[in-house]
Point group: C2
Chain length 105, copies 2
DNA sequence: ATCGTACATCGTCGATAGACGATTAAGGAA
DNA sequence: TTCCTTAATCGTCTATCGACGATGTACGAT
C-alpha cells in the first residue's frame, strides 16, 4: 500500500524515459553494461553537449550511475532503481489494466 | 523479439503518462470505472478546457476510450491498451533491471 | 608549464507543452 | 425556435524542452 515512490518521482522518471534518445542510451547501457560518454556520442546522432545533457537527466532521475574514471565519465544503469520504478509503474499500470468495466451485463 | 510496440509509440505513451494531472485522471477512472468530463473537472484544480485537453492527450495515446452520451463525454480506461503498454514497459525496464554489471571479477 | 583529450556547463534559439479565457458545436428542455 | 448545459476547439501567453556551439574544468602526457 505504501507506494514507496511518490507521484512526483514517478512523473520525473516517466519524463526521463519519454525521449527516444534517452531510451537508446538505456538500451546501449543495457547491452554493454557500461559506457563512457564518448561511446554514447559515437552511437547517437547528437553532439557531445546534447548527449551529456541527456545523461545528466537520466542520472538526476536516478536511473543511471555515473563514475569518474580519469578524464572519462563511465555510466551504467542503476539496476536497483529500475527495480523500484519498474514495480511502481507495473503496479500502477496493472491497476489500470485490471479495471475492466465489469458492467458487461 | 517483435516488440509489438514501437519505440515511437512507447515514447508517446510515456509522455502521456508523465504528467501529474493525467496520472490523477487515470487514478480517477480506475477508481470509478468511468467518468464524464465534468466529474474530472470537479476533482482536479484545473479548468474545463485544460482537463479536456488532458483527456484528449490520453485518448490520443490510446490509453482512454471516450464515448458520447448525449451531451456528455464518458471516458474509461482502455484496459487492453494498458495491458499491451504495461508489457512493453515492463519488458523494457526488466531488461534494464536485469542488466546487473556482471564484471565483478 | 604546456598541450591535448574528455566531459560538463553556459548561453541561445526555435519548438513544444501547459495553462487559461473565449468561442463554437451539439444535445436536451421549454 | 430559443435557451441551457456540456464539452471540444481556438487563440494566446509563459515556461520548459531539446538542440547546438562556445566555453570552462580537470586529468594525462610531454
Amino acid at each position: 500500500m505504501p507506494s514507496s515512490v511518490t507521484d512526483e518521482r514517478l512523473v520525473a522518471q516517466l519524463k526521463a524515459l519519454a525521449h527516444p534518445a534517452r531510451l537508446k542510451i538505456l538500451d546501449l547501457l543495457a547491452a554493454r553494461g557500461d559506457c563512457i560518454c564518448g561511446e554514447v556520442v559515437n552511437v547517437l546522432p547528437l553532439t557531445q553537449s546534447t548527449v551529456s545533457q541527456h545523461l545528466k537527466i537520466l542520472k538526476e532521475a536516478g536511473l543511471l550511475i555515473g563514475t569518474i574514471d580519469g578524464t572519462r565519465s563511465c555510466y551504467s544503469l542503476d539496476s536497483q532503481a529500475f527495480g523500484v520504478s519498474q514495480r511502481a509503474l507495473t503496479n500502477r499500470l496493472a491497476v489500470y489494466e485490471a479495471c475492466e468495466e465489469d458492467d458487461e451485463g
